[in-house]
């Protein structure tokens, strides 16, 4: 009994390890989507950062509590005006091509991210404030920003902003996409498109972050990173042990995984803005806050999640997922399911006429909600919105789910031609609120006028709050400001929040110490080892 209790306190992979890590061997990892480029500076989609985490190091690290610690930078200072960051670098780091890591590499990487030719849509977007880097000596990098940006260290901890070898970055973008070079515990040795990426151990690795469980080279000789898009096939491959770890365990298989003694599940939410439908405030009917609140309260998300995702996904608890730094749990019930209140609000707003099926209208105009559903939205997500359609229909919303191609869906997004657009944003900083709700992200940031602020909120008090939160490094001050920002957002009913994005790994008994790093809840195989 005592033994059982004490082992229950450890996490699953440690229990199963049953001994010291063994060096050597190959771990086969299978995921659903293949990156289009292995350099995470280019584009910047989640599959890229998952692979990049294995072969790139970052300037700073982030721990489970959101605290920033050293990594390739030993220490740093921030100027009083918040615009100059001086990094003191490790002097013992080499890239896997033998090149030494110096301040010139910091400069080359930041320059690379903001260079339009790189076509960086994530890393580049996070460092828009970047002006330039001075390199007074090899171990000092002085980074200049155009305005204070307290989230700078947080985004630097993300794998998207991983540090690559300057000589490799000098090659053409497309060449670097195929064979990027980092200083991480593994190096990319092969990429068979549509099949797998092969990574091999970097034997000289001596600079793991303090968040890791060991120091020195990784235990694994090799990682075979496979792409198996079909969920049932991926899960079957895990069950018969032909792969050691899978990512994106299908929710319908999770119960089977829990019953199978050979398997362990590792599930953790990702930081950022949870999966949601953004309500377009720029046109009727959602230009009226009463109608927005009515819509949000008419959707039985808990019921929908229980039936569509077999109770495996939980309702998001605010505009930030709970694992995001400066998340506040105070507003998680601000928009609970309440059809009575929804009916009352719609009556107040004048949507009082009802047709034979109970759908409302006002002056002959139906209470229609147009929701474009892009082709890449999976079947489960569609079912979820069908449930929203059903429960919102009960209070009189005529929810129209409109299947379109992905490019058409982004074009409609750009033209504000929707009432609800499906979105999420993974990032490790509460500054995501500024991107998703700030006025500066209303404009034509993307192609076809695509904007990140999908609800179209324009609120000076909110802008001011999130801007102020970037001007100070003081944690208590930032916490207070981000709480205020979350409060402002919660009262506006701008998103119908569904569930937080999550990383869901299935681990076969042959794999041990597979972890999720905290900055984006991305797999790290640095501490992992295999017994087979």
């Amino acid at each position: 009994m005592v033994a059982a209790l004490s082992s229950a306190g450890l996490d699953a992979d440690s229990v199963r390890a049953g001994g010291a890590p063994v060096a050597g061997g190959t771990l086969t990892y299978a995921t659903d989507r293949e990156p289009t480029c292995l350099d995470p500076h280019v584009d910047g989609d989640m599959p890229q950062v998952f692979v990049a985490q294995q072969f790139l190091d970052s300037l700073v690290s982030m721990d489970q509590d959101g605290h920033i610690g050293p990594w390739l930078a030993r220490s740093w200072t921030v100027s009083p005006d918040g615009k100059t960051y001086t990094f003191k670098l490790r002097d013992d780091v080499t890239f896997s091509n033998g090149e030494k890591f110096t301040s010139a590499a910091v400069k080359a990487n930041l320059d690379h991210m903001v260079d339009p030719a790189t076509q960086s849509s994530t890393a580049g977007g996070y460092v828009r404030q970047y002006v330039g880097t001075d390199t007074p000596d090899d171990l000092t990098a002085v980074v200049h920003l155009s305005k204070p940006y307290a989230a700078f260290l947080e985004v630097l901890a993300q794998g998207f902003l991983g540090i690559e070898a300057p000589s490799a970055l000098k090659r053409s973008r497309d060449e670097n996409c195929q064979s990027p070079v980092g200083s991480g515990p593994f190096k990319v040795t092969r990429w068979d498109h549509q099949s797998q990426v092969v990574l091999e151990r970097n034997p000289d690795y001596r600079w793991a972050p303090l968040t890791a469980r060991h120091q020195g080279p990784a235990y694994l000789d090799k990682i075979v990173w496979k792409f198996i898009p079909e969920p049932s096939v991926r899960f079957a491959a895990l069950q018969n042990g032909s792969v050691d770890v899978i990512e994106a365990v299908p929710p319908e298989s999770e119960a089977a995984a829990e019953k199978n003694p050979d398997l362990t599940l590792i599930v953790k939410d990702r930081p950022g803005n949870p999966t949601n439908g953004e309500l377009n405030t720029r046109r009727a009917p959602f230009d009226d806050i009463r109608v927005r609140e009515a819509f949000v309260r008419s959707a039985d998300i808990d019921g929908a999640l229980a039936s569509v995702y077999f109770g495996r996904y939980h309702h998001a608890t605010g505009p930030l997922s709970a694992v995001t730094p400066f998340y506040s749990g105070d507003f998680q019930h601000a928009d609970d399911y309440d059809p009575d209140r929804a009916n009352k609000l719609l009556d107040e707003a004048g949507w009082t006429e009802r047709d034979s099926s109970g759908l409302r209208s006002r002056n002959g105009q139906p209470l229609a909600v147009h929701i474009p559903i892009g082709a890449s939205i999976g079947p489960a997500e569609r079912s979820l919105w069908e449930q929203v359609q059903a429960t919102a229909g009960q209070v009189g919303f005529d929810v129209r789910l409109e299947p379109v191609g992905d490019t058409e869906s982004s074009e409609r997004q750009g033209k504000w031609d929707y009432d609800v657009t499906l979105d999420y944003w993974n990032t490790n900083t509460a500054d995501v609120l500024r991107i998703v709700f700030g006025s500066e992200f209303l404009g034509a940031a993307g192609s076809g006028g695509y904007h990140q602020n999908g609800s179209g909120l324009q609120n000076a008090a909110f802008d001011d709050t999130v801007e102020k939160a970037l001007e100070t490094q003081d944690e208590a001050t930032r916490r207070g400001l981000y709480r205020q920002a979350q409060e402002l957002i919660s009262g506006q009913y701008l998103q119908l929040r569904t569930y937080p994005q999550s990383t869901r790994l299935g681990v076969y008994k042959t794999a041990h110490d597979v972890r999720l790093e905290p900055s984006l809840t991305v797999t790290t195989l640095y501490d992992a080892w295999v017994s087979k």
């Binding site: 289009t36 584009d43 977007g125 079909e230 049932s232 096939v233 491959a237 982004s410």
Partner: protein
């Protein structure tokens, strides 16, 4: 010399070759036109698809590109030019053999095709072969073998022909991979991993081929020369093999060019289900990302395979039944 072809006079060898060369040239010219038409249709079809490919190629819905980044991408892929200019530039490049660089793969289109073509051709060839074997076994084994056997054979063929490949793929996976664990569920790991995807493609095709061949075989078995062969004392199998088979396979041969095209088309689903590397899966991704150069490149390649196959089938047809050659002069 079989009874059927022995009756026809043979044209002199040189005339025959010249005619063959003429026909090949004509076919090649026609093939070129088909390729051009295929490139044109694909180009405009992709442009008529609503939406802007730039967004897709810059990392999808969760990305945060700056206006400069978007401008750079638009310029790099020439998307700021008028449509007809884009078309002219594109066809000009194609004529010079330059297939361009894939938007989504960051690789030359020719390299992407070269990397993906072998697994797909393997799958297609294996499926065609297996389909033929299955069809021949069914047709030769059951046609005119009494009402029950014949009817059963015919029924199995009809059912097979109507099975959707993706459904069959999932059933095969569920039974032989998830259930019995006889075959790996995914990948390109040699012959074993080729079995299930091949069956998923081959069984419906076999049903279709067999239906067509069965009818011809029935007709052939009613011919007087079969009766005369039987009267000479030949057994049932030799009659079928040596005399009737040639007639039965002819429609199958002419269907094979179409079959290759349809196999490559259906490989899209089968490659997705079995997570196989290949052109089909690549084409699916290219279309959904509006990756113009790659979509057109793969379409052209598949068209080319189709054209080459139909020329080969044409030649094979003449070998199987020399009357065709004589009849066309």
């Amino acid at each position: 010399m079989s009874a059927a072809s022995g009756r026809e006079p043979r044209p002199p060898q040189t005339r025959r070759l010249r005619r063959l060369a003429q026909r090949l040239l004509l076919r090649a010219g026609g093939g070129g036109l088909v390729l051009l038409a295929s490139a044109t249709v694909t180009f405009f079809a992709l442009h008529l698809t609503p939406g802007d490919p730039v967004r897709a190629l810059l990392g999808g819905p969760t990305s945060n590109p700056t206006p400069e980044t978007i401008a750079a991408a638009v310029k790099e892929f020439g998307l700021d030019q008028p449509l007809l200019t884009q078309y002219a530039i594109y066809i000009g490049r194609l004529l010079r053999g330059d297939f361009g660089v894939s938007f989504s793969q960051h690789l030359p289109v020719a390299d992407v095709i070269a990397e993906q073509v072998w697994p797909t051709l393997q799958l297609t060839a294996a499926s065609l072969l297996v389909a033929w074997v299955l069809a021949l076994v069914s047709v030769l084994g059951t046609t005119r073998r009494g009402r029950w056997v014949s009817g059963l054979g015919s029924a199995i063929e009809t059912v097979s022909a109507s099975l959707p490949q993706f459904w069959l793929g999932i059933v095969l996976l569920a039974v032989f991979s998830f259930g019995l664990r006889l075959f790996p569920p995914e990948g390109n790991g040699g012959l074993v991993s080729l079995v299930l995807p091949t069956l998923a493609l081959a069984v419906p095709l076999a049903g279709f081929l067999a239906q067509v061949m069965r009818e011809s075989l029935e007709l052939a078995l009613d011919q007087p020369f079969i009766l005369s062969a039987r009267m000479r004392g030949l057994g049932d199998w030799p009659v079928r093999w040596r005399h009737a088979l040639r007639h039965a396979v002819l429609p199958g041969v002419s269907l094979s060019a179409w079959a290759v095209g349809s196999l490559i088309g259906n490989s899209v689903l089968v490659e997705l289900i079995f997570s196989r590397q290949g052109l089909g899966r690549q084409l699916y991704q290219a279309v959904s990302l509006q990756d113009m150069p790659l979509t057109i490149g793969i379409t052209l390649f598949v068209t080319l395979v189709y054209i080459v196959t139909s020329i080969l089938v044409d030649a094979l047809y003449v070998v199987v039944d020399p009357r065709i050659e004589a009849g066309r002069t």
